[in-house]
Amino acid sequence: MLKFSRNYGFKAVKRDFQLLPEFKLKCGLEIHTQLNTRHKLFSYSTNDAFASANLPNHHASFFDVSLPGTQPKLNLEAILYATRLGLALKSNINLNSQFDRKHYFYGDQPLGFQITQHFSPFARGGSVELTKVLNGIDQEQIQIDITQLQIEQDTGKSVYKDSEKVSLIDLNRSNVPLIEMVTEPCFSDLKQIRSFIKKYQNLVRHLGISTGDLETGAMRVDVNLSVNNHCRVELKNLPNTSSIMNAIKFEYERQVDIIRNGLAKTLLAEPETRGWDGTSTVKLRSKETSIDYRYMPDAELPLVRLSADAVARVKASLPVLPDETIKLLMEKPYRLSLKDAKILTLNASGHGQQYTQKELLDFYLQAFNSALENNGEKANQRLLTNWIIHELLGDLNRLGLPLREAIAVVPPTKFAELVTLIQEEKISNASGKLLLFHILEQTRDGSLTQPADLHGIIEKFDLGARSVVDDEELLKVCSEILSSVTDPMMLSGITSGKRKNSLKYLVGQGMRLSQGRVKAKLFEDTFKKLLNANW
């Protein structure tokens, strides 16, 4: 028994994990996603499971806490969200689905059953495509087939207080709408799984139906795993991507060991459910202890009958999906790198951003078109992209200013004009940064509400690039900088060419003093002249 535990229960995952060709991994995923509808699934209490973590049971109606005599009423917004997701996954929407009761007893499920869709789920079929180019998998392209989507209610939350031998129950999460999405066992390696989760996360964020965060539990992933077609093991309680990956690695190695030792017929003969404790998978349930859920139709909820026209119109209202946008941005005339195209298309996280992805993408496309109109082929697309992604987004985050407010003062056309000024060296890069930050800061403080007059501000603060620089003045400034250097080794190193990089420090000082209006090259040449550096 001791040997068994050591070999098949508690061995840590090896650092140099690899899949072995003679032991085929096969996985399917079950992903639960909380929908960010305004209200809960079967009551109109506020759907806000996380923001009020300090106020337990604050968003709980009579139905959510299961007071006797209360009845469910279906929130149609959840149906809209589920339709969006089903269509985006190319699933067949069931025009006549139904809700059923899944009975089990647990403290955070006070009804004694969960309302879910067992007999006639919301959608079946569909697929997600993963490619080497867009998703970084090893294969050129694979298709992950979707089994079904079902709508169901979330449970409450238990806070275990082992020392007090009690659990504390918070029902803020009770009855929050969830979609359970089940895939076919199409995954054969870890990269595919990681890419799929990322892509699915991006999709729900793009559709605006969920934050898609694993860390908060807004998205929860269970993995069905088998090796060489032995019985599948379901892995649960995987709170983040690294847990998912480590649990799969551990479970794969555990099963490979079992097969190698000729014990598959006994130890992998029946399906079981295992949890992840942070270092190893642990058995939760086997076939003998599996729960009899006693499913029955929920007699208190009407059938979910959708008109075909409603589905067609939801389909027509879907935004362009991320893959299509990324492909578009990587082609002519945009020619963005995959990284930049993803930044403009995909939400890095479901919340806390100063813009929606659509706002940012629209801003980019309009600024791009404006730059193209003004400068034709001379327009520097790369410069524009860098300024939007790095300077604009950086400033918005620093100032906590939403993009839609910034647009009132720096509309895309104005932004393209700013980048053109920099491209044409009418203002230096550094002055451009100062100018943009100044405008956005004024916007945040409410002192600027109309589109900014770029030329007026450049003149007012004397930000224009100096095309003609007085040589004597330049020499004076550079000499002052050199006299303030306390490390003579640095200066001799520049002269000899051994410390070429130190010259950049001096140039930086010069740029700072001139507020970026003098070209770096002029400073570089002057310092080299003063230091007799002939390299």
């Binding site: 506020t46 049971n57 007893f105 918070d170 208190e300 009958r305």
Partner: protein, 163 residues
């Protein structure tokens, strides 16, 4: 165990109805409808001598699944047996075989399918009902509980163990 329960539920003892003479007028129909043809007690008493109680093992398993205490198992066994007889009786009644089982619910069977506008306007049209406790903080749910702690309901370990 489950199979046994299903057998108990679905063993049908058919009782065929016969076709009587034609009704002559509306009054006769009303009179017929208003006159009970059978009594519930009589109906339930039939075949009680052959009533098969669910096994103790099955009742205990159901109680465990439902998180209920086991001490009343015997009385609940008898009640469950009685309910099963009732269900068995229901199965003897004539039903339209072409009825969609999806309609087994206490709601209208025919209703207009949901349209696009119903879905997109859903959130705007939903008003939180204070009389249903839907407005956040409008009532204190834990006040109803015997045990509470810092706004949480408290679940004792003894209950957890029976999971």
């Amino acid at each position: 165990m489950r199979t046994k329960l299903c057998t108990l539920l679905f063993t049908r003892s058919y009782r065929r109805s016969s076709i009587g003479p034609k009704f002559k007028d509306l009054a006769e129909i009303k009179q017929y409808v208003a006159t009970p043809q059978w009594s519930i007690n009589e109906f339930m008493e039939q075949d009680t001598n052959v009533q098969e109680l669910p096994s103790v093992e099955m009742v205990e398993r159901l109680l465990k699944l439902s998180g209920l205490p086991l001490q009343d198992a015997e009385s609940l066994r008898s009640k469950l047996g009685h309910q099963l007889v009732f269900l068995d009786k229901l199965l003897t009644l004539d039903v339209k075989e072409d009825t969609d089982p999806k309609n087994a619910r206490i709601l209208p069977r025919s209703f207009k399918p949901l349209e696009f506008e119903d879905l997109v306007n859903a959130a705007e049209n939903q008003i939180q009902d204070v009389s249903l406790g839907e407005r956040s903080g409008s009532w204190e749910s834990v006040k109803l509980a015997n045990k509470k702690q810092d706004g949480f309901f408290v679940l004792r370990e003894s209950l957890l163990k029976r999971k």
